[in-house]
Amino acid sequence: MKKIFIFLILLINCHWAHSQQYMTRSGFIGFYGKTPMEDIRAENKQVYAIIDAGHKEMAITLLLKGFIFTKELMQEHFNENYVESDKYPKASFTGTYTINVPPGSDSIYKVTIKGNMTLHNVTRPVEIPATLQMQQGRLIGNAEFKMKPEDYNISIPSIVRDKIAKEMNVVVKLDCNTK
């Protein structure tokens, strides 16, 4: 009986220790693409992210309407014509990374995050190089990668195709607190 109790306590502890979760509601994701015709800059500062340091898992989600563009008309077209945020309001990512980031040290760990990205009702497997860092009890994640609109079934009319960069450079900055 005692053994079982001890085992149970251990299991619960173990569960707690492993599910040390870090979260933010004000993460940053921006995407940028420049051609001589159009300079696209869009930034979202209301990104929700959660990182489970124990399981080395993470999830990110955002409202596409939260992207603020330099040009208001471009923002309207992004929502109405490209990502169709009335039908598919969110973009999200779930994934895992491989290297353990211990709470004690504040060195920067280079990790590779593998997972699934969902945008415009299309889910694709992606692999993203990123850095993770523990700093005073916070978990800070940064990443930069490229995305192609066409990969997510976002069609760009031929008349404006040359004005819009073929690939968007995506910048992610997450500063998560313990949950």
Binding site: I4, F7, R25, E57, T70, E72, L73, S92, G115, P157
Partner: protein, 304 residues
């Protein structure tokens, strides 16, 4: 024995819980917390352009955005082959619209019809939204002034006051879904001079218009401006009815239109439409608009 069973099942439950704590549950918890935080979700793009056809929409250029519009009407279609069914003649309005703040816009224009200058102020009073604030409609207030400068040798008495007229419009619109938008506008017109004493200086009208999108970037528009009866008696005026086809490409909106109005400002097309659809007195034409971000703020909005 019972205790043992309870503990066993507890362990199983916890273990199962552990197994289930995969990434999908992380995403679910994010989605849940996003749901509760809410926020206001404003409806955008009720109309693509600042005009349905002739009638102004609730839309206004964004803060620091300058919109340039060319409104062009050929002659009447019933004017015969000699005039190439109206294509030989043209009436034009050039307009500039500017967003002072996200809610306030001003505009100026010049029409070739009676060499008319116009100016307007538009204020977005209410914006359709869902979420924390549930607002079913958008409402904008429009006040405009027109001043024609055409010389009439037989009317030497026309001074600056007599050449001026005013419009006040309450624009009420709703975007029903991604494809269908509708607008209703009670209108008040004031003319400082009218042709005879039988005509009213103050006129009332109700305008209505809407659009149906046929693709993501194209829509079919229609508008009807109903002038209340017994206000203009000395001449035959008709209610203005127009049909249009919007095509949007990037920063341009191109509108092909058919209308029985030659003028393109409120005091002309609502109160002084002389053409009748039944007679083929229809003007074919187009509106082209292009928007420019001109202030530093408008250019660097993302880094606010």
């Amino acid at each position: 024995m019972l205790l043992k069973k309870v503990i066993c099942s507890l362990i199983i439950i916890i273990t199962i819980g552990e197994l289930h704590a995969q990434d999908s549950s992380l995403l679910k918890s994010l989605n849940d917390s996003m749901q509760t935080s809410g926020g206001v979700n404003y409806t955008t793009g009720t109309f693509k352009a600042l005009h349905i056809i002739n009638m102004q929409t609730i839309e206004a250029p964004g803060a620091g955005v300058l919109n340039f519009v060319i409104q062009h009407r050929f002659g009447q279609i019933n004017s015969g082959a000699y005039n190439l069914w109206g294509l030989d003649n043209a009436t034009l309005r050039l307009g500039l619209d500017y967003g002072i703040s996200p809610r306030l816009a001003v505009g100026v224009g010049r029409s070739s019809y009676e060499k008319t200058f116009d100016g307007y102020v538009k204020y977005k009073l209410l914006r359709q939204s869902t979420g924390e604030v549930n607002m079913p409609i958008s409402v904008s207030l429009l006040g405009s002034i027109t001043h024609f400068t055409q010389h009439y040798d037989d009317k030497p008495y026309l001074d600056a006051t007599y050449r001026t007229a005013y419009t006040a419009q309450l624009l009420i619109a709703r975007k029903f879904n991604r494809n269908i938008s509708f607008q209703l506008a009670p209108t008040f017109l004031h003319y400082n001079i009218v042709p005879t004493a039988d005509d009213k200086n103050n006129e009332f009208a109700i305008s209505a218009g809407g659009r149906v999108k046929i693709t993501k970037r194209m829509s079919i528009n229609a508008e009807y401006n109903y002038l209340l009866p017994n206000q203009v008696n000395s001449m035959d005026v008709y209610n203005s009815f127009s049909l249009g086809w919007d095509i949007e490409t990037g920063g341009h909106v191109f509108q092909l239109v058919f209308t029985n109005s030659q003028g393109m400002v409120e005091t002309q097309y609502i109160g002084r439409t002389m053409g009748k659809w039944g007679d083929g007195a229809i003007y074919f034409g187009f509106n082209i608009s292009r928007s420019f971000n001109i202030t530093k703020n408008a250019k660097n909005r993302a880094s606010w």
